[in-house]
């Protein structure tokens, strides 16, 4: 073996080991302190209009029916619990769902944006997934961009009369993929590559996270479908109450 080949082999082994010892695979939370200050502030600022819209719509819902605050809070806790539980995975490493795709389908993107920032705050403080300085960036990718796309796809499929199971799968799956793409772009904007700039950097980030994120998105899609089937079987009145199923069918 030449010297170069040896180095390459060592690098390959190190890379393989890294996946072997991986303690947990999460949806891509940007960790605490990883983004420069101006990006933290910028992403935070971008989130503000979405949050204000979400808060206003929540306030309206609560005013109409005080009971709904309990329901919304339960939904938030549900998203947190679902995302903190280990889900079955093929590789043996433990991974977690994001749960925001399901939330967007069931409760609408406005509610999820507010619930998302609360869940992300709890995840940062209680589980150290994500962080306080990166809360803005994480909120944008996970509580705004992903759920909005999920919701849009679900509505589009509904209009086109696609089978509900397929549309739920597509919404959750593509929402996850989109979140992962947005996070990669956020990282790339903050850290453009020395050779090739932002675009090359984005490709690199997409590349290193692909092995963990792609299987996760598929599993999340399948799980979301199973959850929705289960809910349709046992919780029809509740689904009608939150407006997921149409009244009088």
């Amino acid at each position: 073996m030449s010297k170069k080949e040896k180095i390459l082999l060592k690098a390959a082994i190190a890379f393989a080991l890294m996946f072997a010892v991986t303690p947990a695979v999460n949806a891509m939370h940007i960790m605490e302190g990883y983004l420069p200050v101006k990006y933290c502030i910028a992403w935070g600022a971008i989130c503000v209009p979405f949050l204000v819209t979400g808060l206003i719509s929540l306030k309206k819902r609560v005013k109409e029916n005080r009971k709904s605050i309990m329901l919304i809070a339960m939904a938030g806790a549900f998203i947190f619990v679902i995302s903190s539980l280990k889900i079955p995975s093929v590789t043996g490493s433990c991974s977690h769902m994001t749960g925001t795709g399901l939330g967007a389908i069931l409760f609408g993107p406005a509610a999820v944006s507010v619930l998302g920032i609360i869940v992300l705050l709890f995840q940062a403080i209680l589980l150290a997934h994500g962080g306080l300085t990166t809360l803005g960036a994480n909120t944008f990718s996970m509580a705004i961009a992903g759920p909005l796309l999920s919701f849009g796809i679900y509505q589009l499929c509904k209009k086109m009369n696609v089978n509900r199971k397929i549309s739920v799968f597509l919404a959750a799956f593509l929402g996850d993929i989109f979140t992962y793409c947005v996070t990669s772009i956020q990282l790339a904007l903050a850290y453009p590559s020395e050779a090739g700039g932002v675009a090359a950097s984005a490709v690199k980030f997409l590349g290193v996270f692909a092995p963990t994120q792609l299987p996760l998105a598929v599993i999340e899609g399948i799980l979301t479908v199973i959850i929705v089937i289960g809910l349709e079987a046992y919780a029809k009145p509740e689904l009608k109450a939150i407006g997921f199923l149409k009244e009088a069918k």
Binding site: L8, M18, T22, A24, V25, N26, M28, I30, M31, E32, G33, Y34, L35, V37, L55, K67, I69, M70, L71, A73, M74, G76, A77, F80, V81, I82, L85, V90, I118, V119, F122, A124, I125, L126, L127, A128, H129, G131, L132, T133, L187, E194, A195, A200, S201, K204, F205, G207, V208, F209, I219, L223, V225, I226, V228, L231, Y234, A235, E238, A241
Partner: protein
């Protein structure tokens, strides 16, 4: 179930004024991220580790385990920053692959190390807050900072419900396991989905019952709890001020160097 939440109730610094702890960790975190220097990261890491392990009585082993949580993200994304694929080799290292090079520069290596140090130091700031302050105390601070009322109320409710739902979820999962619900990949995926559906259904039912119970006790949209009052001590405030001043001087000094 949630380790951090359990530990913070046992912390030796639990009864220190929450505002003090909040201010300390937030300002230190800011300096960490703004300065991006190895020296400041080192100091912050050492001080936070000392405070949390020695004063807060968190077991060192547990602390190290917790610090390893964001490890995957840290390694993967730093790798993406320091490794480049380009047609021209850079100065630190270059491995030719076909007509391209896997390459990086000394500057980016140094940058990567700085980034890892900053990120780890920031994580210790976050842990200082979360391992020594209970969530209800943090919510108290947020209320004092005039966070919108509906947001703090939602947070309080969600925080409470998390534990209720986690109990339910773990009970369902135990009974699934005892019935071979995790036999192979297919069944475990199916079990997890059904557990989640059942969990949401119960959450809905519970929220109805809870609302009735609270309304019968005159719930009008505000949950008023008596707050334990632990006044800030002058000595602690002085110590925090001196520490942040040192960080400020270091930050300014480093940026002119």
């Amino acid at each position: 179930m949630i380790v951090v939440d359990k530990l913070c109730y046992r912390s030796g610094l639990r009864y220190v004024n929450a505002g003090e702890k909040f201010a300390f960790s937030m300002i230190t975190l800011l300096f960490c991220v703004i300065s991006r220097s190895l020296v400041i990261a080192g100091i912050v890491f050492a001080v936070n580790a000392y405070l949390t392990v020695k004063k807060g009585h968190i077991a060192a082993k547990q602390y190290i385990k917790l610090l390893a949580v964001p490890f995957t993200f840290l390694i993967l994304s730093t790798l993406a920053i320091i490794v480049n694929i380009s047609k021209v080799p850079l100065d630190a290292y270059a491995i030719p692959v076909g007509s391209f090079f896997i390459t990086g520069s000394f500057q980016s290596l140094l940058f990567g190390i700085q980034l890892i140090a900053t990120a780890m130091a920031s994580v210790t700031c976050l842990y200082f807050l979360s391992l020594n302050t209970t969530m209800t105390d943090i919510l108290g601070v947020l209320t004092k900072l005039h966070c919108p009322e509906i947001l703090t109320e939602l947070m309080l409710l969600i925080y409470r419900f998390i534990f209720v739902l986690m109990d339910t979820a773990s009970a369902i999962m135990v009974s699934q396991k005892s019935r071979l619900g995790n036999r192979d990949f297919r069944t475990s995926v199916n079990s997890f989905g059904k557990m989640a559906a059942g969990l949401l259904l119960r959450a809905f039912k519970r929220s109805n019952a809870l609302y009735d119970a609270m309304e019968s006790r005159c719930y009008d949209g505000k949950i008023r709890v008596l707050e334990e009052n632990h006044p800030a001590r002058k000595k602690e405030i002085a110590a925090i001020a001196v520490f942040e001043l040192i960080l400020l001087v270091l930050t300014i000094w480093r940026s002119f160097l």
